[in-house]
Symmetry: C2
Subunit: 253 residues, 2 copies
DNA sequence: GCCGCAGTTATGTATATACATATTGAAACG
DNA sequence: CGTTTCAATATGTATATACATAACTGCGGC
């Protein structure tokens, strides 16, 4: 009894070896077999009590690993029946959307920000549609440009709901871009992004110094914090200046 | 002693009440306070032993909740110091990329698939660059169209690595689109997506029945299974036919 | 043969306990 | 006064145990 886990060289595969906890090792062993295809979708993975015997550990430890695999969507657990490898369903990918300064500096180019216009106004019907706002409270409308080197990199059109972020009314946004300013102030938020291609209209074409009608990538983001609409922003990129990258790696717990 | 958890009406907030487990309730209580801004970034959340007293449960139960919050990125845990609300960093969003049939049918339009061309060949240098392939093994190159009603909805150019998916060599892809065919066969995969705007060239313009030079959304996907390149696919959509949607909700346990 | 009621089984959740580990703050010491 | 040491503390991981719950199995009664 007791025995409280010494966990040194046995098992035998003697691979690299930063100190992984046991449940993490179980998790990665199993997910590797699933991702390699050794255990195909539908395959029943060993019962908890079998893994308990294999790894000489308690059921809680095995359970921790399997619960995480289930939450990650790699397996499905059914009482009385066991745990089964799921078949991959919707292709989901994680899209990381960084601050534009970061994007530009990652290209090795100097970043510059310019505020083009700023209007405080009572929200129009169009504003309310973009922000998904009920009341006709005040909003701040901003137009900005982000440069990579000498060339315009992105055009930004933004609405800020002043009912949610009152302090924005006192900020000119000459020096700070509204994105980082909001991130520093609004604690945690949910967001929805819409991505599409458009032809540049005259206004955008001038702002981005491209031809009217040229293809552009548009990323629109709507942001909520604590259920309240905070901001709506539309970024427009010239076709050749920007590519979004999204990755998906199942689990990697 | 024992007491093994009866867990009925106390606490007092008497809200809705589908049967949440205790650690889930702790988790959602805390994440609500973080997301509402009540606990701002940097705030120290109660110690495990304090929550233990508040919820009258064991430390393991509290620990389970806090560990999950840490893994979800909402809090940061430091030994000896406590757990702290993190400040949100990179805006990350989950982009769900469904099968095109699903996308089209979600619009309420009839879906039709058409195979335009199919070539089996030894991989060219360009093929190898797209697939990130080392050897010059055989590949299958496909060109297809997806229709929504009478109009072309998307154009698909695909390479399949026949070293990874040998059976594809025997499939004509007249009736089945390569996407669903592969998903049913390749167990689990990692993927990388690149999204950008382009102007339609002559070939694409003809295929999508749009004007040459019109803006298009391009989604490229590279897929691996068990570290081996499986397929590279480029979908091209006419600007007005398609919008990608990505959502981000922090945590949601 | 069919239906309902146990019993069995695997997972789900929780407890009390034990020991490991990183970190901090204060006491002891040169 | 600065440095080293040490104990206190909060989290990290694991154990053994207990009971709950869902779902499948088979048995018995009709």
């Amino acid at each position: 009894m007791s025995m409280i886990q010494t966990m040194d060289a046995d098992g035998g595969d003697a691979d690299g070896g930063e100190p992984l906890s046991l449940h993490q090792r179980i998790l990665s062993d199993i997910s590797e077999r699933i991702l390699s295809g050794a255990w195909a979708p539908g395959h029943r993975i060993p019962f908890e009590h079998e893994l308990t015997a294999e790894y000489k550990c308690s059921r809680m430890t095995v359970n921790k690993a399997l619960s995480q695999l289930a939450k990650a969507g790699l397996i499905e657990r059914r009482r009385r029946s066991g745990s089964f490898v799921r078949r991959p369903q919707s292709q989901a990918a994680v899209l990381e959307i960084h601050d534009i300064r970061i994007e530009v500096e990652a290209l090795g180019l100097p970043y510059r920000y310019e505020r083009v216009a700023r209007h405080k106004r009572r929200s129009s019907a169009e504003d309310r549609a973009l922000l998904e706002l009920d009341s006709n409270g005040p909003v701040l409308a901003l137009e900005c440009r982000h440069f990579a080197g000498k060339r315009p990199f992105a055009h930004e059109q933004r609405l800020i709901n002043l009912a949610a972020v009152a302090e924005a009314a006192n900020e000119e946004f000459f020096a700070v871009a509204p994105g980082p300013w909001l991130i520093a102030r609004v604690p945690w938020s949910a967001a929805e992004h819409r991505i599409r291609a458009v032809a540049a209209d005259r206004h955008i074409a001038t702002a981005l110094e491209i031809e009217s009608g040229a293809p552009c990538l548009v990323v629109e983001r709507r942001t909520w914090s604590a259920e309240h609409p905070v901001t709506h922003v539309r970024f427009t990129y010239a076709a050749d200046s920007h590519t979004l990258v999204a990755r998906f790696t199942p689990s990697q717990g």
